[in-house]
């Protein structure tokens, strides 16, 4: 389900690390590949009444129940496509699921030298990198759900 983007940083391969680039509401975001535990088709979420911001449902995958972080809602976006994907990430409290656009995520190798600070306040980040004119924030999985 992943496409691998050509590595343009062969000389720094030992220092570089992998990102998974995905889309939410047409917006390009990235997450460290080591923080990703899987990608699958999105299943209908099961609502859980509560007051935790952006965590208001779970998805069931067999006998596993994963809390859903509504990343699109937190960014005030709407997931695009009729066949959205489920991005499972490794959170310190346990795996979480996020609904992302149906566009197939891409692996991207990042040279740490190109890592920059993300100044946006709309999501927790581990920095960002630039792709053309776009600044791609790297989602900080560990901080998801820790702020309101």
């Amino acid at each position: 389900m992943l496409r691998t983007r050509q590595n343009h940083h062969r000389g720094t391969a030992r220092q570089s690390y992998q990102l998974l680039v995905f889309f939410v509401g047409g917006r390009r975001l990235a997450v460290k590949a080591v923080d990703v535990s899987g990608i699958s088709q999105w299943a209908e979420p099961i609502p859980v009444a509560g007051r935790t911001p952006f965590i208001t449902s779970v998805v069931r995958q067999g006998k596993t129940v994963l809390p859903v972080f509504d990343l699109a809602a937190s960014l005030r976006l709407t997931v695009q496509g009729s066949s959205p994907l489920c991005l499972r990430v490794k959170h310190s409290l346990g795996e979480m699921a996020m609904c992302i656009d149906e566009e197939i995520p891409v692996l991207h190798t990042l040279d740490p030298a190109t890592l920059q600070t993300y100044h946006g306040k709309d999501l927790p980040s581990d920095g960002s990198y630039t792709n053309g004119l776009d600044e791609i924030p790297i989602l900080s999985v560990s901080q998801l759900g820790s702020t309101e």
Binding site: I46, V48, A49, G50, R51, I55, V58, V65, P67, L93
Partner: protein
């Protein structure tokens, strides 16, 4: 009518209002009544269930009185802040009693009993960190979905709404203890 859970091979018997005289031990299975409310499955520990009646049988929805005992009406959908179109033919009034406190909730339908080993009640993921941690005792895999196990103490707590609305998240259940009376209600759903 039987319900089958995917957690376990155990089936279940259905029939509201059976004597709750089991001996509780860590290995004892627990029985839950599975409800549907606003399109969501909820579960209640059988220990707290006094009956599940049709609206017609109950008569007064505000304070159903069964065998002389008043079961104060609790708007569970409102407490959970979920929308619920309650007016269906399958609607039931579930009578609850715990530690001398009685209450009744109106649900869309009663699905039946489910018997589970305690280990099959999954904890609510720790990512949920709001007051809902008090609302639920855990989750049960049910059909292709889940049923959230309600904390009966919270459901019956009269003061919880004002506490939570005022922003308190760590409120302790404050049940008003009254002398416990036995109810021999033979009416079943």
């Amino acid at each position: 009518m039987r319900l089958v859970t995917e957690n376990e091979e155990n089936g279940l018997g259905l029939g509201v209002r059976e004597p709750m005289t089991r001996i509780v031990s860590p290995a004892s299975p627990s029985r839950f009544l599975i409800l549907l409310l606003g399109g969501r499955y909820l579960a209640l520990d059988a220990e707290s269930i006094q009956g599940a009646l049709t609206i017609k049988v109950v008569g007064s929805l505000d304070a159903p009185t069964i065998h002389g005992r008043v079961y104060r009406a609790i708007n569970l959908a409102d407490r959970l802040r979920i929308s619920n179109n309650q007016g269906t033919a399958n609607s039931r009034i579930v009578l609850l009693s715990e530690r001398g406190v009685q209450g009744s909730i109106r649900v869309t339908s009663v699905q039946g009993w489910l018997e589970l080993h305690p280990t099959q009640v999954l904890p609510l993921p720790p990512h949920f960190r709001g007051p809902e941690r008090r609302w639920y005792r855990g989750m049960i895999l049910f059909e292709k979905s889940i049923a959230l196990v309600l904390n009966t103490s919270w459901v019956l707590d009269e003061q919880v709404t004002s506490i939570e609305d005022s922003g308190g998240q760590e409120g302790i259940p404050r049940l008003v203890v009254a002398p416990k009376m036995s109810v021999n209600n033979s009416q079943a759903c």
